[in-house]
Amino acid sequence: MSLPLLLKDELRGFYRSKVMIFLWVGLPLMAVLFQFWSASTQQVFSFTLLSAVLVSSIGGTLASVMLAVSIINEKNRHVYELFLIRPVKRWNLIAAKFFAVYICIAVASFLAIAMGIGTDYLARGGASGTVLKDTLQSVSISMSMMAVSSAAGVLIGVASPSVLVGAILVIYGGNQISAIPMIPTILNVGNASLFTMSSGILISTVLLILAALIFNKKQF
């Protein structure tokens, strides 16, 4: 009962935040700007794929920093006390935060990737099969990397005592972990999209379970 309510609440808080406004506008804009850069270089990957990696890297980093900082701040300011004296399951609080941020950046990323696909299609006039394959791969990479980044942000936010420590851990640790779902694509294994999404879901779930266990044991 409390998870949908908390999720709606968190979405309301996040979608209007300054970071999210930057992502709503900034990511699609970056996708367009990237076209000019890629036009002057020799393309190895498709533009859509590069857009996805760029977007998920920036979006994922911002999302994980935002989640970690938000959780650490709220923990330190004792914001959660008012929730925890009510019949609310503790894991609902962090799950709501994760999904709210993830939904927001996912929408921003879809917008950015859509720009990339459109640009790719116009520039290359590629066959629809190639575009679709690229698109699926791009979306799976982007979504998986951002899910892992966000889950890492939640875990670091729950475990870290200070904003500074949290931010450092997210930037150096979270980013490394979020690159794991890229491995099947880099190695060019068959059905890379499926492997990418599976590894993204698995790693995110493990990180979120760890975060929930730590949060459940925390004494406020």
């Binding site: 409390s2 309510l5 908390l6 609440d9 309301r12 808080g13 209007r16 935040s17 709220e74 300011r77 004792h78 914001v79 006390e81 008012l82 929730f83 925890l84 004296i85 009510r86 019949p87 609310v88 004494q219 406020f220």
Partner: protein, 310 residues
């Protein structure tokens, strides 16, 4: 009810076999120096701290095992209450009301009622971070009252408030108690505790050193050991009061105003009779004779010691 509750933070013993019983409908003031364990006690009561020794029962339910039953009947205002920065008063209260089990319509109605009682109707649509400290404290109290709790646990509700807000807050606390809500609150401002509490518990170094009404404390400690005498005419022989049986010391505070300290074993009524007789004999005219009892500050310092005053 807390029975032999102990809580450790590493090697620090924050609470040491604390036992307290709070009666239904009373305003229980909980005082003690910084670090005495007041907030720890309250956090255990409301279920925020679950690892402790001893037995805690609220309304017959055991904490933390039956916390969901307890949470339905309990409102809590933490020290330095904080809300997420993007929340408006209305939105925060709606969320907390819904999480406490109210339907959207019920929450809407209760928000209106509670804000009206607390004088916050005008700021309903404002962001909480834009409000003054006193207002935020009231919003904190509002969230604690939304679901109609039977017990209110207030941690330092008067800290940081200006005198007008403190007065208002104390009136609200009294009104809530009048409506049958049991109130357990801590405060550093001893005069405020004396003003509203029907019973007081003093905590020092993690131990409850005494519990009683203010009157009981006063009678335990030097009650009536001072008598203030105001004369309308001073015949100039007030020094002779020193020789009255039961008088320990005598001090002139102002022209025509004297403070008489009685010996600890002196009978208050007999000594006052003797003082009045002596003054009349010496030709003075008396305006008033007032036995002075100990203030809560004096009582507190006797239990907790000088230099520990919060």
């Amino acid at each position: 009810m807390l029975d032999k509750v102990s809580k450790r933070y590493g090697s620090l013993l924050a609470l040491d076999h604390v036992s307290l019983e709070v009666e239904e409908g009373e305003i229980f003031g909980y005082i003690g120096p910084n670090g005495a364990g007041k907030t720890t006690t309250m956090k255990i009561m409301v279920g925020l701290l679950s690892s402790f020794e001893g037995d805690v029962r609220i309304g017959g339910f055991r904490m933390p095992e039956q916390r969901s039953e307890v949470h339905g009947m309990l409102g809590y205002l933490p020290q330095n209450v904080a809300f997420q920065e993007w929340r408006t008063v209305d939105h925060a209260l709606m969320t907390f009301g819904r999480l406490s089990g109210l339907s959207e319509d019920e929450a809407e109605q209760r928000i209106g009622e509670v804000l009206s009682v607390l004088g916050l109707s005008d700021v309903r649509g404002k962001k909480i971070v834009e409000l003054s400290g006193g207002m935020i404290q009231k919003v904190g109290l509002a969230q604690a009252l939304l679901h109609g709790p039977k017990l209110l646990v207030l941690d330092e509700p008067l800290a940081g408030l200006d005198p007008a807000s403190r007065y208002q807050f104390k009136q609200i606390i009294k009104r809530l108690a009048g409506d049958g809500i049991t109130i357990f609150f801590s405060s550093h401002i001893l005069s405020d505790v004396g003003d509203v509490a029907t019973r007081i518990g003093i905590l020092n170094s993690g131990q409850v050193v005494s519990v009683g009404t203010l009157e009981e404390f006063r009678s335990r400690f030097s009650a009536g050991s001072y008598v203030e005498i105001v004369l309308s005419h001073d015949a100039g022989r007030w020094q002779s009061l020193k020789s009255v049986k039961g008088v320990k010391d005598l001090e002139q505070r102002a022209p025509n105003k004297f403070l008489v300290q009685l010996e600890s074993q002196a009978n208050m009524d007999e000594t006052i009779d003797s003082l009045i007789r002596r003054l009349l004999e010496t030709g003075s005219r008396i305006r008033s004779v007032t036995p002075l009892s100990s203030s809560l500050d004096e009582v507190y310092l006797k239990y907790v010691g000088e230099g520990e005053k919060a």
